[in-house]
């Protein structure tokens, strides 16, 4: 397994971020998409503050999940357009640095999206966390990483498939089920505070951590094989 020189990873990451910032097309469409998702969900489910606390955990993460998929689909599309993949394959840089750069870039991107969507959700659903709200941060970070690391991997995998855009969610969702379960339960527990049957989100956070470790390792081990298979 190749080691990951931080220099190459950083360089790729910075390149991606800079490209994204300059083009702004992905950012703008994602922002608008995020807003639309929150609004549509609010129309569909219009609960009062009490009920909303119970379902908000699930709703929020489903919305994030869909937003991430849209973002992830963009990731490799640009690379393909400019035949950058072949350049990467030929270069001496290890495949893992490419993967990490992409994954971290996506992670930052999706986190920004979440940061933008969350206040909207709070407003529309009149949310207020009864439990320790700071715990939502590790849940969000670990959960987002879980989605993004697998999403980046599967996006690479579905590159040369027909119906590429639909393949990503088809592959990603089943595998992510334990992570989603953990995220939703953790969020619900935190929102409900001591009211619900569970009193601590700690178990779910640990599970998310374990999930992240297992699948990040798996992705790093297998990415080179996947890249060279194209």
């Amino acid at each position: 397994m190749s080691t990951v020189p931080p220099g190459v990873t950083r360089a790729t990451l910075i390149k991606d971020l800079r490209l994204e910032w300059r083009s702004k097309d992905a950012i703008n469409s994602m922002l608008f998409f995020a807003l639309l998702v929150v609004v549509v969900f609010s129309f569909s489910f219009d609960p009062d503050a009490e009920e909303s606390r119970q379902i908000a955990g699930g709703l929020v993460w489903v919305a994030f999940l869909f937003a991430s998929v849209v973002a992830l689909n963009q990731t490799w599309a640009r690379e393909l357009r400019n035949a950058v993949m072949d350049a990467y394959r030929v270069s001496p840089a290890p495949a893992n640095s490419l993967f990490l750069a992409k994954a971290v870039g996506n992670f930052i991107f999706v986190c920004i999206l979440e940061a933008l969507m969350t206040p909207l959700f709070i407003i529309f659903y009149k949310l207020r966390a009864l439990g320790p709200a700071w715990q939502l941060i590790p849940v969000a970070l670990l959960g987002t990483w879980a989605l993004v690391v697998n999403g980046t991997f599967f996006a690479a995998m579905s590159l040369r498939t027909r119906s590429r855009e639909i393949m990503l969610p088809l592959l990603l969702f089943p595998i992510s089920i334990p992570a989603i379960l953990a995220m939703v339960n953790a969020t619900t527990v935190i929102l409900l505070g001591g009211e619900g049957p569970d009193t601590s989100a700690k178990f779910w956070i640990v599970l998310l951590g374990a999930y992240d470790v297992v699948f990040t390792t798996g992705c790093l081990l297998l990415f080179e094989t996947v890249l060279n298979a194209e």
Binding site: N150, S158, R160, T161, I175, P178, P197, L222
Partner: protein, 285 residues
């Protein structure tokens, strides 16, 4: 080799018929659930068969991925041996959870190691990939049976079609993962398919224990009806169950064999077509 097939087919048909008869007639009527409980004799063997098939797919996928790389290949072999040895020793040294026999743990461990090496010996690299496709497809078929018979059993007994209990949910997730596996195989062009699919299969099977564990923890905090119950089983019922399992195993074997032959034939045809395309002067058909 080819002559075994019809003989085995007849034996399987006989076993299946006897199994059906045993399930309907020989097995005693269950006290609380009534005759509906007899679904159990089809539901459980299908589940065990499906899990076995998916496990075979996992082994085949791993082999496909590691065989080209000598270091990974050797490592995988040692892991397989280690699992067998660890199960044998661990079964008798460590305290086991309730209801689990040390003998079965040891046998499972040895079986895992044996399966790994048998597949390695008898399947070429191409063959390993064909085996992966075969077991995935037939596994999905059996898993579908499990997911259909499960609710049909649950509804009259517990009044609900579905519940998110550990076993049902894990089976559903497993089914979803393998359906997505089959879709990946169908949608990607033939060059990289085997490798990508193998990677997905490995991921998938890493996922399932996590699913099982997380839902188990979740459900012990929120008790829900557990489909299929635990506890001891009447000896006659056990016998009927095992007969049906044996019958379905033979059936699965035959189906897999057919599917495997179909797959190999398909690859030969594709190869021949590709060769023709290359050799034919003036272009491709």
């Amino acid at each position: 080799m080819k002559r075994i097939f019809p003989i085995l087919a007849i034996v399987t048909a006989a076993l299946l018929s006897y199994g059906l008869y045993a399930a309907m007639v020989i097995a005693p009527r269950e006290l609380t659930m009534g005759d509906v409980q007899r679904i159990f004799y089809y539901h459980v063997p299908s589940a065990w068969t499906a899990f076995l098939l998916f496990f075979l797919n996992f082994v085949a996928s791993i082999q496909y991925l590691v065989r080209p790389k000598p270091f990974a290949d050797r490592l995988a072999k040692w892991v397989a041996v280690f699992i067998g040895v660890a199960c044998c020793i661990g079964a008798f040294v460590f305290p086991l959870p309730e209801g689990v026999e040390p003998g079965s743990v040891a046998t499972t461990g040895i079986a895992i190691t044996a399966i790994y090496f048998v597949i390695r010996k008898f399947f070429s690299e191409q063959g390993t990939d064909a085996l992966a496709v075969t077991t995935a497809e037939v596994g999905v078929v059996f898993c579908t049976v499990v997911l259909v018979t499960g609710p049909l059993w649950a509804r009259p007994v517990w009044g609900i079609w579905w519940t998110w209990d550990v076993r049902l949910t894990s089976t559903l997730v497993l089914w979803l993962i393998y359906v997505s596996y089959l879709m990946l195989r169908r949608f990607s062009s033939s060059g990289q398919t085997p490798v990508l699919a193998a990677a997905l299969a490995v991921f998938g099977l890493l996922d399932v224990p996590l699913v099982y564990f997380s839902i188990w923890i979740f459900r012990t905090q929120h008790p829900q009806p557990v489909i299929g119950g635990g506890g001891s089983i009447d000896p006659i019922m056990l016998r009927v169950l095992l007969i049906n399992w044996l019958a379905f195993l033979c059936f699965a074997f035959l189906v897999c064999w057919s599917r495997y032959r179909l797959e190999m034939m398909k690859r030969e045809v594709e190869e021949a077509q590709a060769m023709e395309g290359l050799l034919e002067p003036g272009g491709v058909r």
